[in-house]
Structures are given as structure tokens and as C-alpha cells.
């Protein structure tokens, strides 16, 4: 620890399923310097104060999407949130809201992974091409249409920001919908019809009430609320246009 070291109180929501009936708060005194993130504060706790503290992290540079936590009630990546911004007040750290807590700050993300799989997050080629035919070419304009939505790092902050997901965990939710949109609007993709069934389904976009907090907390400026709401229009258009141009295969 360098000079200018101060001590901050970090309040952590603890939960060990083998002994705790419910989560509880535990406060730690953590020495910190100006360059320390909340993640580093939590790491200090694990290394020096209580080795049983569990949390996820990896890259420490806001790209892996592992270290999302509720920091003073706001969904944040703990690696890019700094202790100095809370000092001298206490900083409160909890597992991401709206997800079941597995242990301490670790959430159960199985539901999210299932949703991610369900949207088929890969290009389903519009036309089959052989290697000899070369790559699928795309103009900068075609790239612009989806590029923003491809920045998603699956950190799930948007889910922790979405009360509709909290109230009904079956809702596909902002993150998966942003990725769904990313593939649907890709000029190389031909899987839109399959994915639209999910968009318009019971678990689809119409759970969204345009709270908009998902886009506020997104660390990568993906604007998932925009993806969800554009697809409300798309689903409605599909519903009404089928009378004019039946495509068949509707369930």
C-alpha cells in the first residue's frame, strides 16, 4: 500500500447456503488508495480479512463482464467503479439484483445462459456460400446498423436494472434481446423469422414497460432498451402484415 492510504468501510451482502437461511450484511474496514476499484477492495477482503468471500472477476478492465455487482444499489462493473468516489461514506456491495444468489456476490446465471442460447446468437447464413465464392461482404452502412448491439459483453447489469425481469424471470430481457437484434439486422443473416417467434412470444418484448434503466447502466453503451422497443414495432408489424402477406409456417 502506497502513501495517501485511507480506510473505507465496505458493507458486503453475505450468503453461504450451507449455513445461512438468508443473506446478511457484513462490514469490513478496508485500507485503500485512490487508484483502487471496488473490485480491488473486495479482493483485499478476500486476501486479508475473510478468505471465504466469493465473487466473480477476471479481466479488471471492463471487457469480460464477470464482476457485475450492485454498488450502493446501482448495477455496476466493480472493476471500473472506484472506492475514492464513495469515501468517506460506506460503500454497499451486493450480488446483482433480480438473480438468485448462489453464494455471497455470485449469482445464478443459468436462466440467462439458457436465454442466450435460445436466441441463436450466431449468423444463420442468408445464402449458403462455398469457400471458393469468398467472404460475405458488408458495407459500412450495413455494419453501422448492428455494430452497437454487438458490443454486449453479457455482464447482466441490464437484467439487474430491469424490474420487469425481477418481477417475471421468464422475460427474455434486455441483454439477450439486444443480441437477438444484433443478428436479426445483420445483412448476412437469414434467421430473423425464427427469432421473431421468440420476440413475439409470451416471454418476449411485450414484458418491457420502457423503464429504460437497462440502457443507463450498460457499460458498453449497447442501448438494449432500444433493441427491445424496436422489436415491439417489428413484432406488431409482423402481426398485422401477416394478413396482407401470409408467409406460412406461423404457429
Amino acid at each position: 500500500m502506497a502513501e495517501n492510504q485511507r480506510t473505507i468501510e465496505i458493507e458486503v451482502l453475505r450468503y453461504h447456503p450451507e449455513k445461512d437461511k438468508a443473506p446478511y450484511q457484513q462490514v469490513f474496514q478496508v485500507p485503500f488508495t485512490d487508484d483502487m476499484s471496488v473490485l480491488q477492495g473486495v479482493q483485499y477482503i478476500k486476501d486479508y480479512l475473510d478468505g471465504s468471500l466469493s465473487f466473480r472477476w477476471s479481466c479488471r478492465m471492463a471487457i469480460c463482464g464477470s464482476c457485475g455487482m450492485m454498488i450502493n444499489g446501482k448495477p455496476s462493473l466493480s472493476c471500473e467503479t472506484f472506492l475514492r468516489d464513495y469515501y468517506p461514506a460506506r460503500v454497499r456491495v451486493e450480488a446483482l439484483a433480480h438473480f438468485p444468489i448462489e453464494r455471497d456476490l455470485v449469482i445464478n446465471m443459468e436462466g440467462f445462459i439458457e436465454k442466450l442460447e435460445s436466441i441463436q446468437p450466431y449468423i444463420i447464413p442468408r445464402e449458403a456460400r462455398t469457400l471458393a465464392q469468398g467472404e460475405y461482404l458488408q458495407t459500412p452502412e450495413q455494419l453501422n446498423v448492428y455494430e452497437q448491439f454487438s458490443s454486449c459483453i453479457n455482464c447482466m447489469l441490464c437484467y439487474a436494472a430491469c424490474p420487469q425481469f425481477g418481477l417475471n424471470p421468464a422475460f427474455i430481457g434486455p441483454g439477450a434481446m439486444a443480441l437477438l437484434h444484433r443478428y436479426n439486422v445483420d445483412s448476412r443473416d437469414g434467421g430473423k423469422a425464427e427469432r421473431m417467434e421468440l420476440v413475439a412470444s409470451e416471454e418476449g418484448v411485450f414484458h418491457c414497460t420502457a423503464v429504460g434503466y437497462c440502457s443507463e447502466v450498460c457499460p458498453k453503451h449497447v442501448d438494449p432498451a432500444n433493441a427491445v422497443n424496436q422489436n415491439k414495432t417489428n413484432a406488431a408489424a409482423d402481426y398485422f402484415l401477416r394478413f396482407l402477406a401470409p408467409k406460412g409456417g406461423a404457429k
Binding site: 450468503y15 447456503p17 439484483a97 433480480h98 448462489e102 425481477g166 434503466y213 432500444n226 422497443n229 414495432t233
Partner: protein, 132 residues
């Protein structure tokens, strides 16, 4: 034996836990004023259909200070509703490309508010003209 026991936190009082959600509930709540005002206007229309006497009685009723106070409150609420409606608008629509560039959120919100203000003023001027 499996020791996993994922803990699901309660959603009770969810909207009070974050200032963003409190604001959301307030701006959604202002929709009630929009609905109430639509009710008042429909009531007026109903009186109009019952003839001049009924219409004048309804107009007189509007002069009640409580009613005037409600109108002031409704004006503030609907004004705030309009503002938040256009604030969220950029998030609800496909990107608007102007001259090869995406139109900024602020321009969409500002444009919406300007159109709303212009339409309100035009309506006010038209009604004012008719009432004189």
C-alpha cells in the same frame, strides 16, 4: 447431497429502492392525469350533446376553484408526462439517419418537444380565436 440453495430476493417495494424507479413511477403516474382529463373532456362532450343548458351548467361547474386548481395540477402533470415521453422516445424508435449520420438522442427529444409545444400553441390560438 447438493449444497446449492440459490436465494431469491423479494421484489416487494422494488420501485422505492432506486431513485430511477421512483422517477419512473412518477412519470407513469402522470398518465392518470391524462386519463382523468380525457374523462373531463368526454363529460363535457356528453353535456354538449344534451343541449345548451346542460353545456352551460358544465361550463359553470368548471369555474369551481377546486376544478381550477385541478386544472393547474393536471397542466403540470401533463407537461411532465410530455417531457418524459419525448425523453424516452429515442430509445423506442429505429435509428434516424440524416446525411449518413445517426441523429442524436437530444435532437429527437428536442424535436418532439418543439412539435408538442407548437401544436399546443396552435390549438390554444385556434380555441382563443373561436372563443372571442
Amino acid at each position: 447431497m447438493n449444497k446449492r440453495r440459490p436465494y431469491v430476493r423479494s421484489m416487494d417495494g422494488w420501485w422505492r429502492k432506486n431513485p430511477f424507479f421512483v422517477e419512473y413511477m412518477i412519470h407513469e403516474g402522470t398518465a392518470l392525469f391524462v386519463a382523468a382529463y380525457a374523462g373531463i373532456l368526454l363529460n363535457g362532450l356528453l353535456h354538449l350533446s344534451r343541449g345548451e343548458a346542460a353545456w352551460n351548467a358544465w361550463l359553470d361547474g368548471l369555474k369551481n376553484p377546486w376544478y381550477v386548481a385541478f386544472h393547474m395540477l393536471a397542466l403540470v402533470a401533463i407537461g411532465y408526462h410530455t417531457y418524459t415521453w419525448f425523453k424516452i422516445m429515442p430509445r423506442t424508435m429505429p435509428p434516424v439517419i440524416v446525411g449518413g449520420k445517426r441523429l442524436a438522442d437530444g435532437a429527437i427529444t428536442g424535436g418532439g418537444l418543439a412539435v408538442a409545444a407548437a401544436a399546443s400553441l396552435a390549438l390554444l390560438a385556434a380555441v382563443w380565436g373561436m372563443a372571442r
